[in-house]
Subunit: 716 residues, 2 copies
């Protein structure tokens, strides 16, 4: 009997391993309205630790306490075969947002994502530059899977046999309401690791959940003011002289320019790179950088982190690199202090000491055919998979720290990111180039604590050129990237005036945009916001029955209407980009009255309007009572000692106020209280007329704005 | 000291686990020219066991012994963090084929595949209906990863830092020969399991490696003769009367028809299905099936295996189903005898006993949004991932076994398959519908031991209709699938005659096509073959330098010329399909002289020709000495007692022979020797004229062909 009994026990043990029991998540409060649960043995390396988040406790306290969302108490986890499985409840009618920087859709319920750092490849599969494993519910909570693995999220697709809320069964033969995707009552998650940490962010709205997520990650990055000006990236093999001429040309055209990006050719070798100046194209880097700074133009250096044998740091980093090269360059293990030191020392001496203001960090998002494979490993013990998921965070954090140590803000471009990046001073870009999808990505970035730029590179027509330029001027980074095409803002002379006009409008709007970023930093509200994060906007979407088509839609999959081609910039400004070929477009106005930005006229109220703006303008709308401060048009962003007059525009009928943020725009002194909030208040006087009033803060002497001139845009 | 020492050992053990040493593979011979290696602890469930392969030892012996390929001795494996990593050498100039049923490309070197059962979604990522983890090298060997997991294959992409064959380092700034993908000297494989079995199939050519692969899997499936005739799938809600009328219409039009496929509406409920006849649409299934059989028309039943609560077998299978439903149907665990019995008993009684001849098994390939998620589990202990990879094999094998037990061949359609399927009597199809890509899939199927049909459903124009019909008639399954569109072969009256002509040509070619399948069965040579498997065809492909384009090709990725739009059917016939819109096309002729099938005229020799065939014909070419036997045109495939005259066509100048296969075309008696090979020989007489001779086999009385009439197509 004994051997058999033993066998029985052994078999049972295997069965238990394979079908481990589900257990409720053990949620523990970690901040007001924020809980975490640890399942199994979470891995040593995760996303938030890698990002080095420092929760903004004061701001979280200010947002206030909230009860744990009742519905989420039913969340369960299970460990099975080295994986962690989660099941998180989902109510009927609930909508989900987030789950990686997607370009096609903003409504993510009923979709599946394998979140995987990668070039975006034209479909929302989870393979993207920022595969952030975070979703936000329209019911006002967010869930973060804090794992540096390829996490698969079934966002309301699977239906369990034992579901307490089973969908209705229909006969496809005869029932026209049959659906390819019946109702699912759960988000299911597969983490390919024997443990994970999960966070839950509560909120009274989706926006508030996003705020808590961003504040827990340290609050949004506050750019230097120059980072919000216009930036031009020059062709890859430009010499110092050609860069000078480029700056001259911008001046001749009176076109804004705050920083120039140097592409691969600034290095003596690229792909793999040396990180050292090419002495042929840049014989005197120090003098060149200094000269440009004196002209008020900062410089940003392109790089990818794969080290050429000809790089001065090659020998120092070689022992601390992965098993596989990328484009023949070493792939540094940035978790190791030896690598960190080698980079910091060299980059400080060769770039930062010279006055370089930031970096564009390319190709850290992968692409299977040239990144290290998942079978790669790194000296720290990290696998290829883990390193791929966190590489973007690692390089952002380290480069950001170099600047922070100098009390100097930076603003850069990065191609790979992940959860926890809210406070990192980088904007994501890519090689994809669909204008509409670029706007969808802008919307999606707002759910994820990342920033995105719909950069302009080239266009087939003047119309497309102008439409793209109009869009990028209302994004976190107004950039022309001419690395391959050598384009200039005036490449299409027939729209030069209009391109310049919108670029100068952005410059005029800088106080407003900078305040939107301050909200990101202090309150966690993203500067660019999907409509679904806007008060008064309903998340409900109509589902259209799919039409059966044997080739295009054999399962007659239902289509959903999504609002993904308009967004909010800050609290007051609704941006509705135009796309080449379109003469008019629909704009969905949230509840309340909305006004045309340019004329102040009523545009509509909580309705869908159609606008025909002409080529010159990008449609912009302001909510009732919306206050927009503007400074005079200029080609450079304000410097720390500029004192500027402000035109304060008020729209609509309502009394209102706007808190205008300001600081030196360059240093981290704002973290130590060196900032001001100026209250711009519109109220009705005894005659019922609107009157503007400016209330300066206590530290009024620090305010860099003066001469406030109120303009009531909407005529009674 | 003790605790510290213990800690040290524990930490070391973890480190060893994380960075396990690489070890050479321990290859063991398993058949002549076939080796296997076991790494770690291979999982209990794998692909070949699931497929139930029975190696054709005699045929393997006949192919002969070969030495282990020298270059592959350097193969290594490593166990790391619950994964298995392989590295298999790759020489410069070597080309790779296979790695899942791909639709876009046939040259797989420099690509990455995550082999994952799924609908094909428009790109060759590894997500496909048959994610076969097998690759064939132009150097004459094949490698099979016998794993039921999502296997990732880096087919010559990764470059190791310590590579013995490092690529040359180039500066992208200045060197125009810089490549985005430098030379990699290895295929690397990631199996997400702590062990795997790997097979190596040697060969003097890529074809011979494929032959060994197919023979090891039991040899290719030999269809019943009727399976090679024409098949029509009728609209989903057709009644018995409408099916009768469909058969009548085929007779009126004189159009071939061997079997009709009934789509979901034959069942009382579908999605989920009952597997029971709908008594409204089919009031007398037994009588109906019998009547159709008497008319010489077999019936094939559509199904997917997800069980409706209204199915008679629901209660029997419920305890043995997965945690998740699919379209509200139970997902049976087909590895369990309880499920197997319930299905077999019911299907035998309700279908096979009535005379049903086969199945179309749909939607077992997945699609993340409606299949069970990977977090699902099954009562046998299999994970969702494993079950997804093998589901197609399980249902193919079980249904095939039901027919085999009756000594009755079947021929069906299946949407999901995997390695080990060579002997299973199923042809893969899907919802994708690109004509060119369908032909590429035909080419790719030949590397993988699977069959594929470029089924016709609908077309925008008569030209497209005809071109698709011409292609499908030279494929393993000549099918019109009218489930959604109600199309007929004569849907475009202006090309009805030409469609009929090509369908009848297929019927005439059946002895040749059947022989091609016999080669698949007895020799392992696939019936449809990529050009790269053809003797005299060079696998070398020119690489065209990619053109830099900031939006379309920012890395200036090189493009490769591939031959993927023409293929061989059997030994002698080269098929070069035409695509709608094209008036002419290029055809690459392998070494030696090639002749036009229709006229016998010389077409070219080892060269690229351009043909302008007109609408009526699909370009067909025969190699020098090629012999093609034809029978008279008929609307049904030959029955077991038909005695048919044969026209023997000879092409070109060379003396040659052709072994013509035959058997009863219905049973498995051929496995017990009941078959014939008739030698058709062309030789030159004393005057130098070609003469035909037929040498009957010893069992000459079993030969069903007579009255051989030689036609020398090429005039001297």
């Amino acid at each position: 009997m004994k051997p058999n009994l033993f066998l029985f026990i052994a078999v049972s043990a295997v069965a238990v391993l394979a079908h481990a029991q589900e257990a409720p998540l053990n949620w523990q409060p970690v901040a007001p309205g924020v809980w975490s649960a640890r399942i199994g043995k979470p891995e040593a390396v995760d996303l938030l630790k890698t990002a080095g988040i420092q929760p903004k406790v004061d701001a979280l306290n200010k947002l206030g306490k909230l009860a744990f969302p009742t519905s989420m108490k039913a969340s369960v986890a299970r460990l099975a075969n080295g994986q962690t499985h989660l099941r998180l409840p989902l109510r009927e009618g609930e909508q989900l947002f987030g789950l990686g920087l997607n370009f096609k859709n903003v409504l993510q319920r009923k979709r599946v994502f394998n979140l995987h750092a990668d070039h975006y490849g034209g479909r929302d599969s989870g393979r993207t530059h920022a595969p952030v494993p975070f979703y936000v519910s329209s019911e006002g909570y967010g869930v973060l899977i804090n794992s540096a693995r390829y996490v698969t999220v079934y966002a309301g697709t699977g239906v369990r046999k034992d579901s307490a809320h089973p969908p209705k069964i229909k006969d496809r033969n005869t029932d026209r309401t049959w659906e390819a995707q019946p109702y699912s009552d759960a988000v299911e998650v597969l983490i390919p690791a024997a443990g994970v940490e999960v966070f839950l962010f509560a909120g009274r709205s989706a926006m508030e959940a996003v705020q808590r997520y961003n504040l827990y990650n340290g609050g949004g990055a506050l750019p230097p003011k120059w980072g919000l000006g216009f930036t031009q990236r020059v062709p890859t093999k430009f010499t110092a002289d050609e860069v000078r001429q480029e700056a001259d040309a911008f001046e001749q055209h009176g076109f804004p320019l705050d920083f120039i990006g140097l592409e691969p050719g600034w290095q003596s070798r690229s792909y793999p790179g040396t990180f050292a100046w090419d002495k042929g194209r840049f014989p005197d880097p120090a003098g060149f950088v200094k000269e440009m700074l004196q002209r008020g133009i900062r410089l940003n250096l392109w790089l990818n982190p794969y080290v050429s044998p000809e790089s001065p740091i090659y020998d120092a980093v070689k022992p601390y690199t992965g098993t596989h090269t990328v484009w023949n360059g070493l792939a540094p293990d940035f978790t190791l202090p030896q690598v960190q030191r080698a980079f910091k020392t060299f980059f400080a001496k060769e770039h930062l000491d010279l006055g370089i203001s930031g970096y564009k960090i390319d190709e850290i998002d992968g692409y299977d055919q040239w990144l290290w494979p998942d079978v790669a490993s790194f000296p720290s013990g990290l696998s290829g998979e883990q390193m791929r998921q966190i590489y973007g965070l690692l390089v952002q954090r380290q480069t950001a720290d170099w600047f922070r140590a100098r009390n100097q803000r930076t603003w850069g471009l990065v191609r790979g990111s992940n959860a926890g990046a809210s406070a990192l001073p980088y904007v994501i870009y890519n090689d994809y180039y669909d204008h509409r999808d670029f706007i969808t990505a802008l919307c999606n970035s707002s759910f994820l604590g990342v920033l995105w730029t719909p950069e302009v590179r080239a266009s087939k027509t003047a119309e497309e050129w102008l439409r793209r330029m109009q869009s990028v001027c209302f994004s976190p980074l107004a950039m022309l990237n001419a690395w391959a095409d050598g384009t200039k803002p005036w490449t299409f002379p027939e729209v030069e005036a209009q391109v310049k006009e919108v670029a100068l409008l952005r410059m005029r709007l800088l106080p407003y945009i900078y305040t939107a970023f301050a909200q990101y930093h202090f309150e966690g509200k993203p500067p660019v916001r999907a409509m679904y994060l806007t008060e008064g906007f309903t998340a409900s979407s109509q589902q259209q029955a799919g039409k059966l088509d044997s080739t295009a839609n054999p399962y007659a999959t239902a289509l959903r209407q999504e609002v993904k081609d308009q967004f909010m910039l800050g609290d007051n400004l609704l941006v509705a980009p135009m796309f080449a070929g379109d003469k008019s477009r629909k704009v969905i106005l949230p509840a309340g009255k909305w006004y045309d930005f340019y004329t102040g006229k009523l545009a509509g109220a909580g309705e869908i309007i159609t606008v025909t703006p002409g080529l010159d303008q990008i449609p912009l709308f302001v909510r009732d009572g919306g206050i927009i401060p503007l400074i005079p048009a200029a080609t450079r962003a304000p410097k720390h000692d500029d004192i500027l007059p402000v035109e304060v525009r008020h729209y609509g009928e309502s009394a209102s106020r706007f808190a205008l943020y300001d600081d030196d725009g360059e240093t981290f002194d704002y973290e130590r209280g060196a900032f001001t909030w100026t209250d711009l208040m519109a109220s009705r006087d005894v005659n019922g007329s609107l009157q503007g009033k400016v209330e300066l803060p206590q530290n009024a002497r620090a305010v860099r704005y003066h001469d406030f001139k109120w303009v009531f845009m909407t005529k009674p």
